[in-house]
Amino acid sequence: MSSNPSSNNKAVDYSQVPDARGHFGPYGGRFVSETLIYALDELEALYRKLKDDPEFQAQFDYDLAQYVGRPSPLYFAERWTKETGGAQLYLKREDLNHTGAHKINNTIGQALLAKHTGKKRIIAETGAGQHGVATATVAARLGLECHVFMGEEDIHRQSLNVYRMKLLGAEVIPVTSGSKTLKDAMNEAMRDWVTNVDNTFYIIGTCAGPHPYPELVRDFQSVIGREARRQSLAQVGKLPDALVACVGGGSNAIGLFHPFLEDESVAMYGVEAGGYGLETGKHAAPLNDGIPGVLHGNRTYLMEDENGQIIETHSISAGLDYPGVGPEHSWLKDIGRVNYVAINDDEAMAAFRNLTKVEGIMPALESSHAVAYAEKLAREMDPDQMIIVNLSGRGDKDILTVAEIDGITV
């Protein structure tokens, strides 16, 4: 097992980030055009007011329990552990949430905020479609108009989710600019928001974007880590030795990690998409192979060329196919609290097949990256040690992608 990197940052007070202007160390902030400043100020003021409001929290907790089906189980994957050899592997079953992924935790929270603003129109960007589905779902429940921006490339890769969104009453708007993936969908959503800022609430799906989004997405997703911590103590009688989660924008990872940051004995691993391999440059792993820059309203690690142009990323998983990452992850990398590693397409595919076969649990291709890394990590650890893997979503949406790789037409 790798040495615990947290031991040299005892002085860090994690409750003090971000600062008042949304900075996580040098990262985060608010890099947007002037028109949006007002809307962000308004959102921040609303969030500050509601964050500690017992009524708001009670409504959020109620929705998570009654609508999402929380708490999600912390499942001991006994057969997977045995087959892998090494540390005990537990899965935090976010795949069992309503709509099949962790994304709903955040959309429930942001939709409650939207309700308080009185805005009747919701927009969102989506990559794999899970955030789009989760947004369309809460919009349907609250009777709000919903428009989801999605790259043309992703619409092709994730046709099932596109249809789900349509059934839920959302309009899916194909984005044909740039690389036609998540980053371009986010650009288009920001353009829409600038234009319709008076009547529109933008539900960002990951812990990136301009302040206060990284903070509020983290807070809404932290239910994952709070539950996992409590469940670990109750079911196993101790804290886990390691946490593993995939990182695209990084919302499921920050949600799992954040409540454990002060637990110095808990090592953390964020798993980026290694695509065809870090050495090929065709991947989506800015924390492993990028440099800090400014995109989508925040400063963070990015994949870019020598002229500062954002480059096209590659991952088999649409949800990880993003050239940036949430700013808090950039900071956690720099201070050494979290290790950021990468898993290639092939390794993720193998993990997808393996977990499906040995546990009867089909992970999303995004989550498969975490599953693959956890197998490597477990083998380096002792059998009395314990790893929690965030199974951030279910793999049903990826069946067509997997079938295509197998040369099968479903």
């Binding site: 890099f31 002037e34 028109t35 007002y38 820059g293 989508h296 954002i310």
Partner: protein, 271 residues
């Protein structure tokens, strides 16, 4: 006195309004930009605003987005924009040139390196769309030391306190965005422009130019009456796009086409 101050001072003395013209560096080819810049000046432009190509120009509407894509397709970059301004200065030492772009290409070059090259090229001012005052302190300090102006946007959604914060840091002129939306968007609300420009003027002595949504002589005239000048972009870029789509490669044709548009707007402004 800076070129921008000089220009507004002489316009004021002549009782004329400023015409700021925007094109994207390298759209649709690198050799088109210099002849176009000179043609913009010859047909009546007072200040040139040169767009720095960026992969993710998320404040732009479809017209200017495509201009960025055309420029990036053959690798135009911030370096080329700086080189182009330097060349422009060989025969035009009077017309102010403002670089407009996004933060990341400038940060990638590094503030120090960028400023050094920009000063050497003869750039007068910079407008970074996604660098509001809260994040611009360091960059502003760099610009100030080099006697370059930092141009900021104000929007219909900017509160009076916000207007104050922005005007306190701004130099050159205030770029008032006439509508909620991206570049090239719809309808101009003259009453709202009037109200906001009046409010901004009560806070600063800087000239106020109005952009976004100005399509022709008539719309230019309407907002110029309320302000110190207008910014036109999408209408020029649209014309460049039309020629590019026809496969036009002769830079002189592009220069002639933008001249026609600017001449019409100039005439309306001077009436």
């Amino acid at each position: 006195m800076s070129r921008i101050k000089q220009r507004f001072e002489s316009l004021r003395q002549q009782g004329r309004k400023a015409l700021v013209s925007y094109v994207v560096m390298g759209d649709p080819a690198k050799d088109v930009t210099l002849p176009v810049m000179h043609a913009l000046v010859a047909s009546g432009t007072d200040i040139i605003e040169l767009g720095i190509p960026f992969s993710d120009p998320n404040a732009e509407g479809p017209v200017i987005q495509k201009a960025h894509e055309r420029a990036l397709a053959h690798g135009s970059s911030l370096r080329d924009a700086l080189a182009q301004v330097k060349q422009f200065r060989e025969t035009d030492s009077d017309t102010p040139v403002l670089l407009m772009g996004y933060t990341n290409p400038i940060e990638r070059m590094g503030y120090d390196s960028f400023i050094e090259k920009a000063v050497d090229a003869g750039v007068d001012a910079v407008l970074t769309v996604d660098l509001p005052p809260e994040e611009a302190e360091e960059f502003s300090e760099h610009l100030k030391q080099a006697n370059m102006e930092n141009i900021f946007l104000l929007a219909p959604t900017s509160s009076p306190s916000r207007q104050k914060k922005v005007t306190d840091m701004a130099g050159g002129f205030i770029y008032y965005v006439s509508l909620k939306g991206v570049t090239g968007a719809g309808n101009l609300d003259v009453n709202s422009v009037n109200e906001n420009v009046t409010s901004i003027r009560s806070l600063t002595d800087l000239p106020v130019c109005v952009g976004f949504g100005i399509k022709d002589g008539a719309s230019a005239r309407a907002v110029a009456d309320l302000s110190d000048g207008v910014v036109v972009g999408s209408v020029l870029v649209n014309q460049i796009a039309a020629l590019a789509e026809q496969g036009e490669t002769n830079p002189a044709i592009y220069a002639a086409a933008v001249s026609v548009i600017i001449a019409e707007i100039r005439e309306a402004l001077d009436k």
